[in-house]
Structures are given as structure tokens and as C-alpha cells.
Subunit: 606 residues, 2 copies
């Protein structure tokens, strides 16, 4: 009744390479893996055998087994072999304390070649020189590199930690569909033509936003999903057409409940999986307007200071055209102090201005403080102002005092519309953070940015747009303002989690009442018909007992990259695509048979 | 620095409804959930408050709080409320031992209406009468039904169990891309047009088959993924365009290693999550040809017997045209015994033949055994043969002996080409299993079917096709047969896990050597160019040290449905689609804006 039973035999491996230590000495083991390297030395062959766990040294000699030895002579890098032999202690001179298995070696008396290998197009080692194109083309070899294996393992651990953490807290993981309805805003939706309903299309989700809100209406109360999301946009540096996020939603909560759960999750994860990283606890909650003022960015790198000061009023006192025009046009003049950099020469400063221009800046002004001590102790010629900026020493002293600069410091100033000036300045701030060596790579500096505005003014389309998304709730007590004109000033219950200058997660407390949701759509300029057609189903759901709810969606790829210390998210994704969305290994996307298109009633237009 | 801190307050709930027991008596709690029902009784209002955990009774009376009482008067089903009050013991006459919270009630002194609700289109209860279309249209209400909540929870538990089980055994969960390359066989691929590379398409994976094999080439050794898969086929009963499978692959293993891991996984899961189910351990390993002979199906329901017997030789002795023609054309005559059903009348038999025809059968013959005891004790007139089948008693006795029939039994016989005769007979067998009440619904009768043929003859295209898929390895020692003519007889290392008549999982040991894989493609009739274009990347990968490997892919939807005792997998999927692949809630698939199609350089043809 169990014919297979007779086929039963021990698996090809009785141990993994990295398992073998002094405890195993004199025991016989069967190993299987890849030839990492082979050295012939005085009539003896040494093979470093590699599997997922690590490396162990295998010794072949004619005395041990002439057959095994003669096979070993043919072995080449990346061949797959099965080895049987006794574990023994290495002779003192060949011990290798840097390897976990460095005190032992396996005396091979039997070896089977399971598969051979051509010479790989690049070395299977961590400091690989090959360009990324080649690595992606041969991804299955690139993934053999120990660093990539560690990245895959860390990613597995991160996702496992998240699932265990949320399971313990009563969250249900629920799969939502990948084939959903395209939203007419969905300029960035990937479309999927239906064969059964020709001329109709599904879309791939940019996020399961509406589905998770409907799960709250369903009474699930605590939902999460490690969700694949898709965005068909021109890929900026380090974006992927498909990405993974932890999608999390809770009912009967307010903002701080979500933030505290998120903080617990990240704190516990980092302390367990990457204890070598330094965490700053508790995570600060920074109001959006405050981070914009202090750092000129809503995802500031908090590992260093270089905070900014608005000096528009002082700029208005000058005769400097650039400043005056900016002030007239309602712009700002703002800057930060680079401590101890007052020694820059004129040409240093010109180079610095070039850098600023590379960041897109229109220009840059500065004050170099010579000498020492408080501004009040500095004389006229201690202040070296950038050309065009001629002001009496009193002004320079007040500027320096306002910005907290002292003798020997450099003041960097930029002028322009608030949004752009902030953008340029935050680039310069990060540049100086690097340049002055202020960044401790071991620190994970998390923070929540809260109180984002509910609406941004969309200059291109000349209308109000949701800063987060249209389902975001206004802050408590701000609802009335929706009837007013000052829409730009309405605070929302949207929040971000940032870390080391990256946005790691974004979320909000949602609207759960139909009237309010409809009012938002009206503000956004939708007609009654558009609202009905595009959002009718969720508005209807809100009429059947929708509970208050909110959530957050942390990206997984970026998180793992930061924890792994990887430069790119491509290094923590098994089979990533290139900037142009190409899979270099399989060659996707690709043309398809006409018959496939005919089945879909589609034709390609030129 | 933590402005939110001041907003901090206790979550809206201090306990879940189902938590409250006698231990909580006299404690004050805050609950939140949905009004399941409201009863006014002698100036007191009783509300059954429901949340995900269950139900608790809340009492409102003017004495406790006039305000709360007057609000309670307005409450309707499915309104969302927050309730504060003291837990107290129910008066003896109103105790409800059927509810976990049936000994207590909450004396409400405060209530807040968080949201109102229209009257739902159907009652939120398990024995819902509404048709499925309406339930899917209002899925967010359907999911509030306790049974659906239990299904979602069970699904979460099943997937969590699988992940923990495999994590403990060193498997890495690795995400593979959803946007992959379309295989030209991919008649059933969903295509995704690329905007950046107009005229080119991605495809959604029918399974991550090649990707997981490449992960083995990458040295991952133990991989799994809860993977979403897609198949654009005309949906047979209870299929979905997107479905979920556990995708699992291991290196350095043989068939029995995979089967034992799978058996451990399912055994542990069932014993932990649905202990009320009866398991038959160990899972039998049944060779494919044996199950076809005994049950006429490769996914037999093993909860009952009714095994089949081939009587082609005896049929050949008759003068019955149907039998003789069948034998001449190389078909088979086969049947089974329905114990104790010999009492059927002629009209019973005609009805039974009608049933057989509904299963597609050309016809059905039978022998009814009257009287009692062994065939040898039965006289001529104890054998009632179906019309046309006139044979001497001796023949009937030999037939009955061969098939193990005795007095009082019914012998069902069918004739035809083996494949069809088996199909018809297995339908009849299942029909009798039901009809004779032989099926114990509490039993989970798992079994592995092994040794599938490597190739099937594809009559439509008049060529050999892979029974499993082209990457399946031949059985040990069968490789040479690939050069011969008897391709139909080559055994493979493909295996299925079946349970109660359903196929739950399918897998195989794969080919890991280029030459063998190429030979298979040649047998399947591919040209060198086709092989290179379609499978070049994986053949190339096999040349760089591919280890021996194999795996299995258990479906999740069907498994959860069986464990939950659900009639359809739609009852264990949060947002399923209909037979026509339509999402009735969102209305997908749907037409899209012309601009979206223009961006993709596509036009719809009529």
C-alpha cells in the first residue's frame, strides 16, 4: 500500500556546512552544496564547500580515497556535489578562526557530482565587480552571493516578525484581490484586459485602500496584509513597478493608537533583528509645519542637526535685489549654519554654489564668520558676505545671532518661493550632513510627521487636491472649515513614519460618514455623477454602519534595505526590474502572439 | 515634542463583547460594535451588541440613565455604538447558557452613536436566505455574518500555521514577481500592457514555477511562498480567476522527502486547527494506475469503498453488441457492486440509467442479485440481467464472484474507451456513496497519488503532452525510454495530494540537467528555436550548477473550504468574483478611459 516507502532513503544532506563544529569531530556526515573554491596543496585537494548556511573545508587525499580524490581533481567552481566523510580537527597551522567551521574539516571518502557548472560570468563573492545589468541577467548566480542570501534571510525574518507581532495582537491577515476596478484617476494603474468580457479591463491595485476600508465596514476590526502593490509610473531612482507594503487597518481607534502600535512594531523588530542598530526612543511626533520650518522637508534626516531659520524679515532690510524680489513675491529667505566652515575661500564658495545649482537652486548667498566668539565680539571685517549682499556689521550681527552662528561658522542662505527654497535647502542640508561627517550610519532615527494639510493647491490643474488621499479625515474640529475659503490651512489626520531621510510609512484616520466624504469630493471638484460612478460603492457602504477606522501602510522593500544597509531596494528583492521596468532575466515585458491579442479583442496602434 | 500625547486617550474599547464573563462582574467597561438586535421589554431596552469576538447583552433603563435610555430608543440593527457601563449578573430567568457571555449583561449608563445604518438588504445571520448575487453585491454586510467571520479567522490561522511550520524547518518565504513574461503556451495568461514599452506585455503568473526553480539554482535550498496565481480560463464550477497556493520547493531531496514534509504539515494543521475532524494516518501512497483501476479517478473519494473491477474479458464472452463493440475497439467493461441494492425495480433501474446519462455515460448495464448468499448458491432466476444482456447462470455466477457480489447486491457495469468509462463510473461511484449514506462528513481522507505518467497523448493536437508540466522528472531508471516509442508508459516523479475527492496539491521532482530537459522539449515537439526563445533562460541556468530539487503546490482556497465545511471556495475568499469573473461589489472588469488606452497604444477591435 506504500510502494514509495521502499524508495525512502535519508535526504541527500545529513547536516548543513555551517553546522559542523568541534562537537561533530569523528562523526560521519553527508553534505551537499556548491564548490566555492578548490586548492591543490602537496598532493592534497582542499575544497571549500558552500551551501545556504555557510562554508566548510573538505579534504581529499589519495590515502583517504583514491576514487574520491580523482573525482575531486575534476571539480571546478560552482559544481554541485554530495560529499560523505568524517569530521576531524584541523591541524593547528590551518585553523581559521574567522570561519564558524574554521576549527574542523571533512575528510572526504566519497563524493558524487550532482551537476557541473560553466564558469560564471562573475565571481560569486560580496565585493562583486560586475555591473548590475550583468548581475540581473544572471540573477540566479547573483543571489548565491553571501550578502544577497543574508538580505533574503533578513527580509524573511522582517516579514515573519511583522506577522507574528500582529497575530499576537488579534489582527487577521486577509487577502484582497489583485484584479480590481480601475479608478478613473488611475493614470498609473496597470490594466488587465478581460478575455471573457472583451473591451473591459481589470486594474492592478496601487494599494488595497478601499478594500481594507470595506473590511472595516465588514466588522473585521483589525486587518493586515503583506500586500503587493503596482504603479505604472516613470520610475524614479530606486522605484519598482511592483512593490510590497504592510497594509494595516483598525476600527475604533484614533491617530495615537495607530502611531503607538507602529512604534512598538518597529522598535521590537529592530531590537530583535538588527540589535547592532541604535534606536532613538520614543519616536518623536513632529507636526508637519514644524518639520518644514526646521528641516525644509517632510522626511528630514534627524541623525544630524543643521536646523534652518527663516530670516525673510532681515532679508527685507537689505538692498539685495534677489532678496527684495523674493520678499515682494511672497517668497522666503531661509538658511542654516554650517559650524566651523567659515574658513571657506571664495573659490570654495563658488564650488558650493555650483553644487546648489545642481540641486536645482536658483542661487545661494552666504556669510562667512571669521574670528572667534559671539557675533557681538566680531568686527566688520570678520563678516565676509557673498557678493551683492552688502550690509552694515549690525545687520550681520543680528543675522548671526538669530541663526545661532558664531565666529568660524558659515551661514548658507537661499531665497525663493517657500516650497522651492525648502527643497533646495534640504538638499544642501543633507549635503553638509554628509560632508561634515555628521551622519552615524548605525543610527535609525525614526519620527512620526503628523498634522499634514488636508489639501494642497494643484498649480498644474488649478484646483485643490488631497495631500494624502480623499479618504483622509480632517483633524478634530476642523470639519467646519470645509465650508470656508482657507482650505489650505485645514489640518488632517494623516501621518508619516520617516527614518534617516526616507518615508517608511504613510497613513491616516479615515472618514467613515457619507456626508463628510461627499463634502470632500465636492471640494475636490467632482460632479455628483462622477462621485456616484467612481465612489458610489464605498459611499453606499458608509451608510450601513461603518465604524470609525484608520491605518498605516509601511513599505517593506525600503525598510529591509535600510536594515540590511543595502544601497538599493533592488538588493532586497529576489527578482527586481530595471529603471525601465524590464526583467533582464526573463526578458519581460515582451511582444505576444497575435492570437493572444485577438482573444482579447485588442490591436496595437502605432 | 510629542504634541499628540495630549490627544492620547484610551482606545474606544476597553474589552471585546465576547470577553465579558462572571469574572468581570461589577467592573465598568467600554464596548464598541454593532447593534445585532434590540428588544423593548417592560420599560427596559435590551440590545445584543456584536463585534468580531461575539455578542453581549446590553441593558438600558430610565433608572440607570435617562439619556442613554432615550438614545437606545432610537437604535436600529447594524448601528455602530460605543457603550459604557458596569457588568452585572443576569437575573436567573434570563441567563443564556448557549452564549459564552450568557451569564452577564452590561448595565449601560452611557452610549454614543458612532454611525447609523440603513436597513440591510438581508439579515446578518448564518442561515441567510439571500441569493449569492445580492450577498456579493453587499459583500461588506455578508462578511459580518458570524460564519463568514469564522471562515476569515480560520483562513488566517491556516496560513499562519503553514508559515510557522515552514519557518521552523528553515524555509525562506521569498516573494516572486507578479509581472512576468508571457509563455507562448500562455493561452490562459492574463496580459498586462506596458506603458513604458508600448506594444509589449507582462503576464500574470499561472504559478511561479520557473522562478522557484531559479531560486533553487540560486542556492536558496528551501523556499516557500503563499503565492497569488492567475488563470484566464472559462471558469468551471468553483474556480476563481485569481487563486492562492502555497508554493514550496526544496533542493537535495527526492519524492518521499517532499511527501513526508507535506504529510507532517497537513496532519499537524488539522490536529491543531480542526481537531473535530477525523484523520486517517499515515496518508496512503497510491500509484496512479492503481487508483485508476480501483476508483476510475486520480482524485478518488476514499471515505467509502465501492471499488471497481475490470470485467472486459467476461464481457467479451457475451453476445451483447455494446460489450463486443467496446472490446473490439480496445475499450473496457468495468463496474462496481452496490451492496444490498439488488431489490431495485425495473423502473428504479431506468431512473438510474437516466442519472448515468446525465453524467455523460453512453449507457449502463447491470445485474441484480436476488436471494441470499454466495453466487454459487444462487439459481438462474436469482440473476436479473439488464435487457440485451442475456447470459447463462454460469456466466452471471463468475461475474458476481469476480466482483465480490452476493445475493441482494446490485452490479453496475459500464463499457467504453478506458478514459470515458472510468469517468462515468467514478461519477456513479460518488453518486452511490452519497445515496447509500457511506460518506462520513467528519473524515478527512488524505492520500498521495504517485507515479503519474510523464506524458499523455493529446488527441486534439495529435501529439504527446506533459501530464504534469515539462519540468517534471521521469522516474528513476525510466530516462532511456525517452528514446523509445512507448512514451505513454513512462512513469514520472509527479504526485498529487487528494482529499475527499478533491485534488489539494500537485507537485513533482524536477529535471535539473540541461540535456534531459532539452530531450523532453524535443519529445513535446518544440523546435530548437522555440526551445531557445521560450525556455532559453532556464536551460542556461541549469548549466551553472543547478541542484536536484522538487516541490509541491497546495491550493489554499480549497483546503480552507474543506476545513471550514464550506460549499464553495467563494465562502473562504473575502472578495471573490463570480463565474463570469465579475466583481459585483466594485463592478470590475469595466471599460476604461480612451486616454488610458492611448497611453498604452491599444485599440479595442469589434
Amino acid at each position: 500500500m506504500r510502494p514509495e516507502a521502499c524508495l525512502r532513503r535519508t535526504p541527500l544532506k545529513s547536516a548543513s556546512c555551517n553546522d559542523l563544529t568541534e562537537h561533530h569531530i569523528d562523526r560521519r556526515h553527508t553534505l551537499a552544496g556548491w564548490v566555492d573554491s578548490r586548492r591543490d596543496h602537496g598532493g592534497v585537494i582542499f575544497v571549500d564547500l558552500r551551501d545556504r548556511s555557510g562554508i566548510v573545508q573538505v579534504v581529499f587525499s589519495p590515502e583517504l580515497s583514491p576514487d574520491a580524490y580523482s573525482i575531486a581533481e575534476q571539480l571546478r567552481s560552482e559544481w554541485v556535489i554530495e560529499v560523505k566523510g568524517k569530521v576531524s580537527r584541523r591541524p593547528p597551522e590551518s585553523e581559521n578562526p574567522t570561519l564558524p567551521t574554521g576549527m574542523v574539516e571533512v575528510m572526504a571518502d566519497e563524493v558524487t557530482v550532482l551537476n557541473s557548472s560553466l564558469t560564471p560570468p562573475f565571481y560569486i563573492e560580496d565585493d562583486v565587480k560586475a555591473d548590475e545589468g550583468l548581475r540581473l541577467r544572471y540573477r540566479y548566480l547573483d543571489l548565491r552571493r553571501p550578502q544577497m542570501q543574508r538580505n533574503l534571510i533578513l527580509r524573511h525574518q522582517v516579514v515573519k516578525y511583522i506577522r507574528d507581532f500582529l497575530d499576537e495582537r488579534g489582527f487577521l491577515e486577509i487577502e484582497t484581490p489583485i484584479l480590481i476596478k480601475s479608478t478613473p484617476e488611475g493614470a498609473r494603474d496597470y490594466l488587465v484586459p478581460s478575455r471573457m468580457q472583451k473591451g473591459s479591463f481589470y486594474a492592478l491595485p496601487q494599494s488595497p485602500q478601499q478594500l481594507k476600508q470595506l473590511l472595516m465596514v465588514s466588522g473585521v476590526e483589525k486587518y493586515f496584509q503583506i500586500a503587493r502593490c503596482f504603479r505604472d509610473e516613470d520610475l524614479r531612482a530606486d522605484r519598482q513597478p511592483e512593490f510590497t507594503q504592510l497594509d494595516l487597518e483598525m476600527s475604533f481607534v484614533d491617530q495615537e493608537d495607530v502611531l503607538q502600535l507602529t512604534e512598538e512594531l518597529y522598535t521590537g523588530m529592530v531590537e530583535k533583528l538588527t540589535p547592532e542598530k541604535k534606536l532613538i526612543k520614543p519616536f518623536p511626533r513632529l507636526p508637519h509645519n514644524e518639520v518644514m520650518a526646521r528641516y525644509g522637508s517632510d522626511k528630514p534626516d534627524l541623525r544630524f542637526g543643521l536646523e534652518m531659520t527663516d530670516v525673510t524679515d532681515l532679508a527685507g532690510e537689505t538692498e539685495f535685489r534677489v532678496f527684495l524680489n523674493t520678499v515682494e513675491q511672497g517668497g522666503i529667505v531661509k538658511g542654516f549654519v554650517a559650524p566651523g566652515q567659515g574658513h571657506y575661500t571664495g573659490s570654495d564658495m563658488r564650488r558650493l554654489e555650483e553644487t546648489a545649482k545642481e540641486f536645482g537652486a536658483a542661487g545661494m548667498s552666504h556669510v562667512r564668520l571669521q574670528g572667534e566668539g559671539a557675533p557681538s565680539n566680531l568686527s566688520e571685517d570678520n563678516f565676509l558676505l557673498s557678493p551683492g549682499l552688502r550690509m552694515p556689521v549690525e545687520w550681520s550681527r543680528r543675522l548671526a545671532e538669530r541663526m545661532g552662528a558664531t565666529g568660524g561658522d558659515l551661514i548658507v542662505l537661499m531665497a525663493g518661493p517657500a516650497s522651492r527654497a525648502n527643497l533646495w535647502l534640504s538638499s544642501m542640508r543633507n549635503y553638509f550632513g554628509e560632508r561634515l561627517g555628521l551622519i552615524d550610519e548605525d543610527i535609525l532615527s525614526f519620527a512620526f510627521v503628523t498634522g499634514f494639510p488636508l489639501f494642497d493647491w494643484d498649480e498644474n490643474n488649478n484646483r485643490w487636491d488631497s495631500s494624502h488621499h480623499p479618504f483622509t479625515s480632517p483633524a478634530d474640529g476642523k470639519e467646519e472649515l470645509l465650508d470656508g475659503q482657507e482650505l489650505g490651512g485645514i489640518e488632517s489626520k494623516a501621518y508619516d513614519l520617516v527614518c534617516n531621510g526616507s518615508e517608511l510609512a504613510s497613513g491616516s484616520i479615515r472618514i467613515h460618514r457619507r456626508e463628510l466624504q461627499e463634502k470632500i469630493f465636492t471640494v475636490l471638484g467632482y460632479s455628483k455623477e462622477q462621485v456616484e460612478e467612481r465612489f458610489g460603492h464605498i459611499l453606499e457602504a458608509f451608510e450601513y454602519g461603518a465604524p470609525p477606522h484608520g491605518g498605516i501602510a509601511p513599505g517593506i522593500d525600503r525598510l529591509v534595505a535600510i536594515l540590511a544597509g543595502a544601497d538599493s531596494i533592488r538588493d532586497v528583492i529576489a527578482f527586481p526590474k530595471t529603471q525601465s521596468g524590464t526583467d533582464l532575466l526573463f526578458g519581460a515585458p515582451a511582444p505576444v502572439d497575435d492570437s493572444q491579442l485577438r482573444d482579447l479583442a485588442l490591436r496595437i496602434t502605432e
